[in-house]
């Protein structure tokens, strides 16, 4: 089969771009652990969220030096715990979130934290908050008439 010289060049460029993108993504996912959230698969009965540990006591628990675990429940239209989450700057929070009703979003503005919270599933994500300030955590999946009120704040001091 005859291939034009210029065609060979652009095919070469296309294939090497694909190879580079895949190598970068593969390296980050497998050796640096920078994968999308929800790599751990856990399920829960959505009708019994308030009776199932640890979601019966949602809140922020310190698990180590500058390491916290936030157990949260998304519901129409808010998040539990309702009060602001406060951590010192440089802290890493491991979020563990589920929904007690419909599909919700879980996005922290200005960070890579962006998850879908589905009833029956437990979503996990971790983020290190280096800069002090107030971080807006909001629902970005339309969940009903009060969707725009569904938000909370993380305070990093």
């Amino acid at each position: 089969m005859h291939i034009h010289r210029l065609e060979k060049i652009w095919l070469g460029i296309g294939i090497s771009m694909l190879a580079i993108f895949l190598i970068v993504l593969g390296t980050m996912a497998f050796s640096m652990g920078m994968a999308p959230p929800s790599q751990h698969h856990h399920t829960i009965d959505p009708a019994k969220v308030s009776e199932t540990a640890p979601f019966d006591k949602p809140g922020l628990i310190q698990t180590g030096d500058k390491r916290y675990e936030a157990v949260m429940v998304a519901y129409a239209f808010g998040y539990e715990p309702a009060e602001k989450l406060e951590v010192p700057a440089g802290s890493t929070i491991d979020f563990m979130v589920t929904s007690s009703d419909v599909v919700h979003g879980f996005a922290i503005v200005g960070t890579n934290v962006n998850m879908m919270i589905e009833p029956g599933e437990i979503s996990h994500v971790s983020h290190t908050f280096d800069k002090p300030g107030e971080y807006l955590l909001l629902c970005n999946e339309y969940c009903g008439t009060g969707h725009e009120y569904m938000a909370t704040t993380i305070v990093v001091k």
């Binding site: 034009h4 210029l6 065609e7 652009w10 460029i13 296309g14 920078m34 200005g110 960070t111 890579n112």
Partner: protein, 38 residues
């Protein structure tokens, strides 16, 4: 049978390079945003 002359693909080549540059720049932009926010 007489040999056919090769068609000129210069225009197509230029278009492919422009499209390739657009994809590369978009990808790098999104990737940089991901790294900055991490």
């Amino acid at each position: 049978m007489p040999k056919k002359e090769e068609p000129s693909l210069k225009g197509a080549f230029a278009s492919v390079l422009i499209l390739g540059a657009f994809i590369l720049i978009s990808w790098l932009g999104v990737f940089a945003l991901y790294l900055i926010r991490n």
